[in-house]
């Protein structure tokens, strides 16, 4: 199983590569079009800021590549937000795979939302083996709104937000599966088995 992990100016990709290694997948960090196109699975990781990331992707035409892929694709954290239509973070137009808007958490509670929170309203084969008492690790200040057409799980912090999204071959998760213990490994394994 060849997994391409998209290389761009995002932080903490090493943990994703190590998680793939632990699960026995052959993952490589790459921004090469051909390598990404012919890999079995694609992971779009990320930690960082949306507008800088989008600028980087556009300069290398990776935005066009990402929107045109056919194989199972998994966006993580900032990767999920970039797959949406628009982010409030520096008013950024994103990739638009999901027609969903990304907003900033209001300052009613502590922001960023850091720590373990449970998944709710699960509905996808990607989440097989999990329940609404399955916890995942979050670190984020922005969230994707809930859209019943694409949201396959929610979490609650001040209000419900999209924990995971799915449309065609595109999957995305706001939390970090590579840091979410057995629950994260279940999700990554299910993705590799798609």
């Amino acid at each position: 199983m060849d997994v391409a992990v998209i290389k761009y100016n995002a932080g903490n990709v090493q943990s994703v590569l190590y998680a793939m290694e632990r699960l026995g997948a052959n993952a490589m960090l790459t921004d090469d079009w051909e390598t990404i196109k012919k890999s079995d699975k694609v992971i779009f990781p990320g930690q960082g800021e949306a507008s800088t990331a989008m600028k980087y992707l556009k300069e290398r035409k990776l935005d066009q590549l990402i929107s045109s892929l056919d194989q199972p694709f998994f966006g993580i954290c900032l990767g999920l937000q970039l797959l949406c239509e628009h982010s409030e973070e520096y008013d950024t137009t994103c990739l638009g795979v999901f027609p969903i808007r990304v907003k900033k958490f209001p300052p009613n509670e502590k922001v960023p939302h850091i720590g373990w929170n449970n998944l709710q309203q699960l509905k996808s084969p990607l989440l097989e083996g999990l329940t609404d008492s399955s916890y995942v690790y979050y670190v984020h200040s922005y969230y994707a709104e809930v859209d019943p057409r694409y949201t396959i799980a929610t979490s609650h912090y001040m209000h419900d937000f999209s924990a995971l999204l799915h449309k065609d071959n595109y999957y995305a998760m706001q939390a970090h599966p590579e840091k979410s213990s057995e629950v994260g490994e279940t999700i990554l394994t299910n993705f590799l088995n798609l």
Partner: protein, 251 residues
């Protein structure tokens, strides 16, 4: 629902854990990676590795350690100890650390907090504050709590938050090692004052102390070392207890 976090802290020197541990299942009691894995399996929500090596080779041994931990451990971990500049942080994050923690270096050069937060994002910058009460006033201390500063704890915590810290790791030197409970009052003050999570440290001796620091102390996370290393409080039992007491805890 967001849960309260339980964080074991491991002291390392030259890539080895230094405080004694008595885990019977450990093949190598000094291996920080193996110990970290066991804590992760037991339900620890995060780990903190505090490096106390004092040699010029320090950064290299720390990067090696971070690489080994990141390869094995499947929960988030923070690394601290002698980190002073953006290059240190970059090397450790690239090796796979989720967060770094700075302490004395922030006091010495507060702008380092701004620089690190701008470069890597607030979410991975933890500012550790060692506090001690002197004649009724809480002062920041550095160098493992040995050196007093003129900074008052609440004001310093506010300043580093404004400079971009993502979390505060607050250790009360008055409570550390005494096992009489956490410093709930100042922890609660900081938690109410600041819009970022507070990790309370120092003073854990009984399971009730964790409940108190999460309720009266309003802490978002609690850190402890020896009571976990010496198995005085096993993490699974602690989490069970806190859940029965009505706290939001990851199962």
């Amino acid at each position: 629902m967001l849960t309260k976090r339980i964080i074991p802290c491991l002291d390392v020197m030259n890539g080895r854990t230094v405080k004694g541990v008595n885990f019977v299942q450990l093949r190598d009691a000094g291996d920080p990676v193996e110990l970290g894995s066991i804590y992760a399996q037991e339900g620890a929500d995060e780990l903190v590795y505090l490096d106390i090596t004092a040699t010029v080779e320090k950064r290299k041994t720390l990067v090696d350690l971070v690489t080994r931990v990141a390869k094995t451990v499947n929960i988030p971990f923070t690394v601290g100890g002698g980190i002073s500049n953006v290059d240190d942080v970059k090397a450790l994050l690239n090796a796979g650390a989720d967060k770094i923690s700075i302490n004395s270096a922030a006091v010495k050069n507060p702008k380092a907090v701004d620089e690190m937060a701008r470069e890597f994002g607030s979410q991975c910058i933890v500012v550790a504050i060692d506090t001690k009460n002197i004649d009724g006033i809480d002062f920041v201390h550095t160098h493992g709590g040995r050196k007093p500063t003129v900074l008052q704890t609440r004001e310093w915590a506010k300043e580093v938050t404004d400079r971009g810290a993502g979390e505060i790791l607050l250790t009360s030197m008055d409570h550390d090692g005494v096992k009489n409970g956490f410093a709930n009052e100042i922890t609660a003050d900081l938690s109410s004052l600041l819009a970022i999570p507070i990790i309370a440290s120092g003073g854990a001796g009984k399971m009730e102390h964790f409940k108190e620091v999460f309720t009266a102390g309003k802490a978002d996370a609690a850190l402890a070392a020896s009571i976990f290393h010496f198995k005085e409080i096993p993490i699974p039992e602690l989490k069970k207890y806190l859940e029965i007491e009505g706290l939001s805890i990851r199962k």
